[in-house]
């Protein structure tokens, strides 16, 4: 697997995240975290624990930009923990998992399921911890729904654009 490509993609996506997506303003409910794209599309050739450590690293970088030390870290560790189990659950043809994780290797249905579940889980975790109480949970749900929609569209759009 070409790791320079993974790192290059991470840098570009993080730039987009902190320069553009962190500054979206839409009634305070639209905070998409498109940087999870890099985590979701990472190949699963590495040991599971290394995966989680990479997730923690990506989370800490994001937290630095959001003044939310620990929140993205926790959410990223969580999705990186669940990722291999979810992949083996949604992908019928296990042969495909040896390749890159993308729309084209997994197929439309499996990839969309995979992305939707993990993005929703990640965003819900981030917003719930950030709210730090159940009294805003209705708002958290709206925030999760709107933001996840944008993130999911971005990830699927990215996959559609980079098809070759």
């Amino acid at each position: 697997m070409d790791w320079t490509k993974q790192i290059g993609r991470y840098v570009i996506v993080m730039l987009l995240q902190v320069l553009l997506f962190n500054h979206l303003q839409l009634f305070g409910v639209c905070h998409p975290y498109i940087y999870v794209l890099c985590l979701l599309m990472m190949p699963i050739t590495l040991p599971h624990s290394v995966d989680m450590l990479l997730g923690a690293a990506a989370g800490i970088v994001m937290d630095t930009f959001c003044n939310s030390l620990g929140i993205h870290t926790a959410a990223c560790i969580l999705i990186m923990f669940i990722r291999p189990y979810l992949l083996s659950a949604v992908v019928n043809d296990k042969e495909r998992l040896n390749e890159q994780i993308s729309l084209h290797t997994l197929g439309m249905e499996a990839f969309v399921k995979y992305v939707v579940i993990l993005v929703l889980l990640h965003h819900l975790t981030v917003f719930t911890i950030a709210a730090w109480s159940w009294s805003h949970f209705g708002f958290v749900l709206v925030e999760t729904a709107v933001s996840s929609l944008i993130t999911i569209l971005c990830i699927i759009g990215y996959n559609a654009l980079t098809y070759r």
Partner: protein, 263 residues
Amino acid sequence: MQNLLKILLRYSNFLVFIALEVAAFLLIILNSAYPRSSMFSTANRFVAWQNRQISEITGYFSLRTQNEQLAEENARLRNMIDAMDSTDNRATMHHMSAKAVQMTTDRLHNYITIDRGEIDGIRRGQGVRNSEGVVGIIRTVGRKYSVVLPLINTHTNLSCRFAKNDYIGTLQWDGKDSRFALLTDVAAHMVVNPGDTIITSGLSPVFPEGIPVGIVENSTLKEGDSYHTIRVRLNTNFKRLKYVEVVQNEDLNEMEELQHGLD
């Protein structure tokens, strides 16, 4: 012992997960109780730098909102100053911020349209100023908009005085240059120097005394004339006028009625 190791190995991923999550939540709790680390926050030099770049770019897009807020704040502060200034502790002058939505500067009869009207308490004859100085006088009042007769309209007459010695004159516009107006009715015996400051006289209920109007640019006094011809450089830059304040005098009606009663 061996069994324990086997179990640990078997669940090693889960244990790593738990350990990492515990660490993450420790970070969250410690950081929310007392943010120690400036490195992992936007106080981080690189993050702060990029955020400043962003705000410098996006700042331009919110300039309008910022200006509106500042204009409102100015009006509020001026109200407070007026309340402190008035000797009887009765604030009769109120300021209301407004935005110029349309204006001309290149005609003889220039007008400014502002986005405040009857529903905002605007009445004909109220004064209009901005932070630089006098702008004009309310002429026509609509429901939501009003038309201002600015200093740069040949119909305008404004009672002014010299800041240095309280001599009174009338400011008029000659229709030539939006930067200059003429001060008339200043008697020949009075010494006029370029640079003298002209302020509102306070003789009419339109403006309180002392709002800056302009600065004497030059004055001519021909042989036999009994009045100076004084060119005044106006403080207000009409070419880039955007936000104004309407001066609302509670006593405007009463003062006008009294004056009409005399006629």
